[in-house]
């Protein structure tokens, strides 16, 4: 077991963790933040996307111990005091989610995109969410929601 | 996956035959053998660790000699388990005299069963090819050593 300390959605976390445990399982099973999802076992689907030190990463391709000393943001951190962010609101308004399973990862990738590129083109949006698989929407309304959020 | 080839080995046929039919010498041919047990003259078992840059791939291999016609033909079966995959390989080789040297014609039918996971097909075939080349190179070396005595 190794001690990890990091900042999770603005709060300090300190835990013992088995070095083999992936960050996604640590977040879900040990820290009980279940908004971050698992959709594959090969790092392809992006449902587990979180931000580590401001960068979008797949939390299934990172050991929990590698998060030591970092700042981690998950979907639970997007809504300040329960108030949905403009991006979250845009996802709802544009019907950019159906089952909602890919949504947390998609929102984290989109958050990362908009922080670094506040006025993305459609192509840039698509490139920005290429690492996130959605099986419900064909991405049509997701792209529209991100465009809409960028306009605001 | 069927592989085949011909290789000329610089040694008399009897020498080559001896190398190919000695389980201990065979063990030397294979990459990453950690342990090798001869159960009887037709069955052997080996634990191998195929060295890959990303970390070793461990397999447990069982060999069975299926057929032999000294000094020209032999057929072996190998079955490996581990890494969530099963490897089965049937290899046969024909030895013929080519002057001082020996010509070896070999065939291998390699089957890999099981969820090979993210490694996938795209890399397995090159890995198998690569291991076969390693075995042939090692065979060359063994034969040379046998010649030198």
């Amino acid at each position: 077991m190794i001690t990890v300390r990091f900042e999770l959605n603005g709060e300090a976390v300190e835990r013992e963790v088995d070095p083999r445990r992936l960050l996604v399982h640590f977040i879900r099973d040990d820290l009980d933040l279940t908004g971050t999802h698992v959709g594959c076992d090969t790092g392809n689907c992006g449902a587990c996307t979180v931000l580590v030190d401001g960068e979008a990463v797949k939390s299934c391709m990172l050991l929990a111990v590698q998060a030591d000393g970092t700042r981690v943001e998950t979907v639970e951190g997007l809504a300040a005091n329960g108030e949905s962010s403009p991006l979250q609101q845009a996802f709802s308004a544009a019907h950019a989610l159906q089952c909602g399973y890919c949504t947390p990862g998609m929102l984290m990738s989109a958050t990362y995109l908009l922080r670094n590129n506040p006025e993305p083109t459609e192509r840039e949006i698509r490139k920005g969410i290429q690492g996130n698989i959605c099986r419900c929407t064909g991405y049509v309304n997701i792209v529209e929601a991100i465009q809409e959020a960028a306009r605001k | 996956m069927k592989l085949e080839g011909t290789r000329t080995l610089g040694a008399p046929r009897a020498t080559v035959w001896e190398v190919l039919n000695s389980p201990q010498q065979m063990a030397e041919l294979m990459p990453g053998v950690e342990s090798f047990d001869v159960k009887d003259d037709r069955h052997w078992q080996a634990h191998v660790k195929i060295p890959l840059g990303l970390g070793a791939m461990r397999m447990s291999m069982e060999f069975e000699k299926l057929e032999e016609r000294e000094p020209e033909f032999a057929k072996l079966q190998a079955k490996g388990t581990g890494v969530g995959a099963l490897l089965s390989m049937e290899t046969s080789f024909h030895l013929s005299e080519a002057g001082e040297a020996t010509e070896m014609r070999w065939e291998a039918d390699v089957r890999i069963a099981g969820p090979v996971g993210s490694m996938g097909q795209r890399v397995l075939q090159p890995i198998v090819n690569q291991q076969v080349q390693n075995v042939l190179a090692a065979l060359d070396a063994q034969v040379q050593q046998a010649v030198r005595g």
Binding site: H37, V75, A79, S92, C99, I125, R135 | P115
Partner: protein
Amino acid sequence: MTQTTMEPLVVEREQTKPGFVGQSIPRKEDRRLTQGQGVFFDDLKRQGMGFIHFVRSPYAHAKIRSIDVSKALALEGVYGTLTGDEVAIQTDPFFELSTPPGSEIKDYALAVGKVRFQGEPVAAVAAATRELARDAAELVEVDYEPLETVVEPDAALAEGAPILHDDAGSNVVWSGVFDWGDWEAAKAEADHVLTIDYLHFDRFSSTPLEMSGCLVEYERATGQWTLYCNLQMPGVGAIWMAPAMRVGIDKLRFVTHDIGGGFGNKICLHPYFVACCLLARKLNRPVQWTEWRTDQHMANSHGNERVFREVEVAVKADGTLLGFSCKAIDDCGAFPRYEPLGAIIWSQVTPGLYRWRNIRVDFTQVCTNKSPVGPNRGYSRLQHLWLTERIIDLVAHELGFDPVEIRKRNYVKSDEMPYETPNGCVYDSGDYARCLDQALELVGYDKIEERRRDAEARGKLLGVGIGSTLDSGTNNFGQSTLINPELQFSGNNEVATVKLDIFGEIVVTLGTVPQGQGHETTASQVVADILGVTPEDVHVRPGHDSFWNSHAGFSGTYASQFAVTGLGAVKGATENLAWEIKRVAAGVFGAAPEDIELEGGQARLAANPEAAIPFMGIGAIVNANNAILPLDVRDVTLNCRYVYVPPFQLPDKERKFGNLTLTYATQIHVCVLEVDRETGAYELVDWAVVDDCGTRIHPQIVEGQVHGAWAHGVGAATSETFAYDEDGNLLTANFYDYHVPHALDLPPVKSGWIESPSPFTPFGSKGMGEGGGGAIHAVCAAIQDALRPAGKPVVYDSHNPYHRVWELMTRPEESRKLISVESR
């Protein structure tokens, strides 16, 4: 209107005032799902819970000589194991739907004595953590004796083929001939007979992003199992599981909340769930199982793979289609499970969108050493619709007809609706030609030749393709008796319960099991309109719970039916509640219920709106203050359960004839793509889809379903396939090789709609989630069109990755061998 042999189904619809139905209101589900507060089964935890990992067969076909779990049990943190031997003692084989030989197949929760596909579970291990469970699973030693493998359906039927199920004695599950009209006469009357030797509909699935699984609690005192899970059809799951487990059906409580996509792939989970239940009982602790992606690809339901042979088509000189005949060989993988229902379900759309009256299909379903199939978005109809579309396009291609004109000539016309098909199904409404025109306009079809020339200048071959499909919704389960006359299934049902609580809250309980279709939202629209409140005033419970007693035998979310059955039940229950509220208010005011109107959360006298009781008052009176009620109103419960039963009759088993579904939505796709002449790689450059699902309850949700069905179709046509090698190894066991389209792979899509209200349903709406696979054919047709200059190859497969396109364009003569025309 054509003559129909069925009794009229037409529903009288009263004029309703404009309300929430028809509006795209914000979805109730979205807040929790966008904030990471959704409740998916894997989010749940219990004290002392064991994690299950299945030991799966690496072989596609092998005898199990022995299983040794001792090393696994010796590992610290392992709670226990389960093997096929235990399963065979503690359970009976699952009920089979088929007649012999398929009925003789023995299907258990774990492999018993033999494995029949790669990934088949042979043992299960439960341990304290997910990691330990997998460690322990690796320590289970299984001694296999490999057997000869059969992966191709033709090979499975051949003399001397390895037999999967010795009990059945054959690889055939079911076979039968469907013969409607007079095919021989049609053939004799034809000016051209087109023959296609081989068409192949490929194997894929919708691969929902959330894996299957459950958390099971067992209560010793009562023998009660509770399964927190994502089973999308619990009613049928219980019918499979309870008898096999030798318990009453109420001993299995299914609870679902949010589900991360289902698409039919979460219907056949019963073998896994039984294993989990047995372990929960054996270990006396909660257990949970979450499938892994690789497991899902290897061993969860695949879509049905189907080969069509000896396809013959009778065509008149003017392009009128008279009929077709073919052999269909459906490959259901190692176990039938939901099958052989697929052997009949295609016949809901027997003629596709076309007016041909003479159709003969010789259908055989066969087992192979591949993953079992199960319903998959467009289940069994998309294979057949693809066939009808392939026929139309190949007739046009070979005989020189325009693909648009030949469709319009042969489409069922809007003024022929309701239209009875040759096998007695009734197409309720629609205007296919108008949908096609609109789709063509959206891609600028009149300018297509210019674009073709432009592409050519860039070294690309441009192609345009049409896929026109039907989405048949609301099954008549009586169709199962056309497969097996002994089965006691017919009709359909769905339940909703609407209550007014003591403090005036309106609570809706559905029988359905939503997986993203927005049922909470659309149900609230219906309720709000009837009760005179807003959707925010209506609480719809998320998910499903058997203990709510708000479900029936066919409850679930599948087969494009919620807008009809689910909302039909909601409407019925709400109307009953409204009547009870009016009776209570009338009792208080000494008026007649007819004098009461519901508005703004109040029941009031229509003639004197000042005289009003808020719903809170009504709830309080009935629940806590009922002594003030007149005696004749005291039967009121304000808790109204309603079962919607569509107006079906038993089909005619002899003729395999009858109305098999209530509604038929339409989806028409036009695809434009460009093929790289040098590589066979192609890019989708434009796409239009026009949908007609009758009255739309929530247009945005409808459009979302259209987008989703489109994306699944594109994936299946281009890069999603479950491919096996000759030894039965799955070659696409993960998202590397099974490539699901991502945002860069899909072009922006232009979608349009028309509304042809169904005369048979409560709102004029039609079920529409599945889409019929129109996108798959649109890609095939566009490739065929694009490759015309490359020797007119025949697109014979539903799945066309780059390498196949390359083969088609470099060796057109190979595929052209598959087709011939006899003209008289």
